[in-house]
Symmetry: C2
Subunit: 419 residues, 2 copies
């Protein structure tokens, strides 16, 4: 994989130029893209031209190439949301997060494959760790492009589990920041209370570097790791849906963290949070049925059967149930705030197992959706594998708005797993 | 003015057809639009065709014509945000709130004039109550179209005071629902934590009827008014910026409410809420600078000087200041929730005075922005005038999520002012 933060150092010291970075990507793309199918659109010539603009090396992102999930608007590359409804669509403006990438000195090289409207219908993208397996979804291309070394960092989105799950399956770091730290303007909306921008990179320090470069926030942790943290290990009432691989990874992560000095306690998820987990779909369904109103009313036949039937059902959620779900979520967020008085981070499953074989499913978000609803920063930490040799991530969940802490705790765990 | 709810009764009883309603609008447009300039785009032929679709009279909106501020996407009518940057722009899909209007059986007749990107640069729209005065902004056309009887209800938006202020200036009812009850998807984003869809109509029951028809929520209050409510009259620390007209209107509204049986207490705004009022601009500035990143970076010269200079300054707000402002807002929302244990509604200024003369300003949002930030339902109640004979509204603020209560209290006050 390409290590974004190390490459930035290479550029700053003059060992590499931004153009060299684009060429590194181009070389990996030449080698892997025919198998992986991570990109919906590419423009390496434009990227090379951008990379050669003067002063690029002195920018926060040091001319770092990046790719953006094709659920976000780009003016110069097609924006099709993997739907025939939007074939050839060209939005009038770049999504602000894309502009933030440009402002930070990044070099956009392409759009990555999303599942249809970031829902569950599998895409053409393959898992670079084993091509016969799904990369997960919905940010399939963003995760796979980083895993295959085709780009140092990428931008994806998560409404249920669309960043952490593919990151786990593809063996890359996925970082879903606190809700709205990265703007969702110019993202095709599925659920306005859930849609969250996320980042993929090789290591924790790489997604942290990218987040800092995009936002100007103090998130570039470098090689810093948290002082030994207080970690709550949580398996939830859905623990029986996690595979032996997932439990073994969580055990191993807890053991490694403790060995590195962390205080690690296995605890139950508070009832208010279990209640919130149960109503994620109420919020997603109600908002999705509204967000796609125009396409559904005019062009339902152009949705996949999976999404069309989902929206049929989603439209049945009543405003009272939705309002009640929103109150449940609010109570859970308050309870979670109290919870973090005693713990620096939660350690939980990233996914129920390693990447499923075949392409019939993108896997399950059951261990992700609650944290999307809570808006908390979460990080998929790499370094572990399942019995089949495929990556098996674990998830660090931090406190709302405390992204730097979440990242340094994730980096602490990442290092502990390397010892 | 056209009374939406009465017209719906006329349609349901067969006294009028949906086509008659479009023709009523067309007649008023023929008479007033040349002076008022409320519309950015009109398609009455398409509206007539839609109105004649079978079954229209049996829909929740009974074929009611409506107009939409040109800050919201429409496929079949141009969507230009009153900016040369978007001249001729045609989005790929209708904004969901427009689809909700269609789904409810409404008939879209046109797009109403917005100020440039819903900011402060005055538009060409004139105040139908006195053409030499501003209609306010940014939902200038939506307020003026209702005031001139050209449409029974209209959709606008508020990020600072863009619904309640023009409603007060134009002498119509303006209703800003609880945050996100009406979806902002397909609205050109200025500030994602502030942008709110609102409605304009003749009377409280008309905006309530429209809200119910758009959302399927139990908001159609008809002639219901609240049982005599507990009302807190609040003038804020900015009371000296309210004119004698505004104070007199507030006094008169408080007196009328008390005479009708309400419990009315003059109280001070809690300190947490004054603190939140002071940081509204921090949030709007920070988010606005991100939301317009692409247009600003490429086409700054095509903004009005007012907006271009605003964005220059807005970009200077730092993430830490923004995060701090968000925490201030959160504390204020919690305090406001407690506050509503003792009161059913707040009664406060809608605007500092009647519509300013001339077209050099759209007026001030200083008595609106806090309630936008709090996400609470607010209603401009009509029935009072300033010394110059122009309308002088007062504002009812309800509890977050309790829109029906806010509407029935507003209706209580509206009736009290007629006695």
């Amino acid at each position: 994989m390409l290590l974004a933060r190390d490459l930035a150092d290479d550029v700053r010291s003059g060992r590499l130029t931004p153009l060299d970075l684009v060429n590194l990507c181009a070389q990996a793309i030449e080698e892997h893209e025919q198998d992986v199918h991570a990109f919906a659109a590419l423009d390496l010539d434009a990227a090379r031209a951008t990379a050669q603009a003067p002063g690029r090396a002195e920018t926060p992102l040091a001319g770092m190439p990046f790719a953006v999930k094709d659920i976000l608007d780009t003016r110069e590359l097609p924006t099709e949301y993997n739907s025939p409804i939007y074939a050839g669509h060209r939005p009038a403006a770049d999504a602000p997060v894309v502009s933030q990438g440009r402002r930070g000195g990044g070099v956009l090289i392409g759009k990555t494959v999303t599942t249809e409207f970031a829902f569950l219908e599998p895409s053409i993208t393959r898992n670079p760790r084993r091509l016969s397996h799904t990369p997960g979804g919905s940010s399939a291309g963003s995760a796979a492009a980083v895993a295959a070394g085709m780009v140092p960092f990428s931008i994806g989105t998560q409404t249920g589990g669309s960043v952490i799950r593919p990151a786990s399956y593809c063996g890359v770091t996925g970082y879903k920041p606190t809700f709205r730290i990265l703007p969702t303007v110019g993202m095709k909306t599925f659920s306005w209370h859930l849609d969250t921008i996320g980042l993929f990179g090789a290591r924790v320090q790489d997604v942290a570097f990218a987040a800092a470069g995009l936002t100007g926030r103090d998130l570039d942790i470098g090689t810093e790791v948290a002082a030994p943290p207080r970690i709550a290990v949580i398996r939830t009432v859905r623990a029986d849906q996690a595979s032996a691989d997932a439990h073994a990874a969580l055990d191993e992560a807890a053991r490694a963290a403790a060995a590195a000095g962390a205080s690690v306690s296995e605890i139950e998820l508070p009832a208010e949070l279990e209640a919130a987990d149960a109503i994620h779909s109420t919020i997603q369904d109600f908002e999705g049925a509204i967000a796609f109103a125009d396409e559904y009313d005019r062009l339902r036949h152009q949705f996949s059967p999976l999404l069309a039937r989902y929206l049929d059902q989603a439209a049945k959620v009543q405003p009272d149930d939705y309002d009640s779900a929103r109150r449940t979520a609010k109570r859970a967020r308050q309870r979670l705030g109290d919870f973090f008085a005693d713990y620096d981070a939660i350690l939980t499953f990233s996914a129920p197992g390693t990447a499923p074989e075949g392409y019939g499913t993108t896997g399950s978000a059951i261990f992700n959706r609650l944290w999307t609803l809570m808006g908390t920063p979460t990080v998929n930490v790499t370094g572990l594998s399942g019995a089949n040799g495929l990556p098996m991530g674990v998830q660090i969940v931090g406190r709302f708005g405390r992204d730097r802490t979440a990242l340094t705790v994730a980096a602490f765990l990442e290092r502990a797993l390397q010892s």
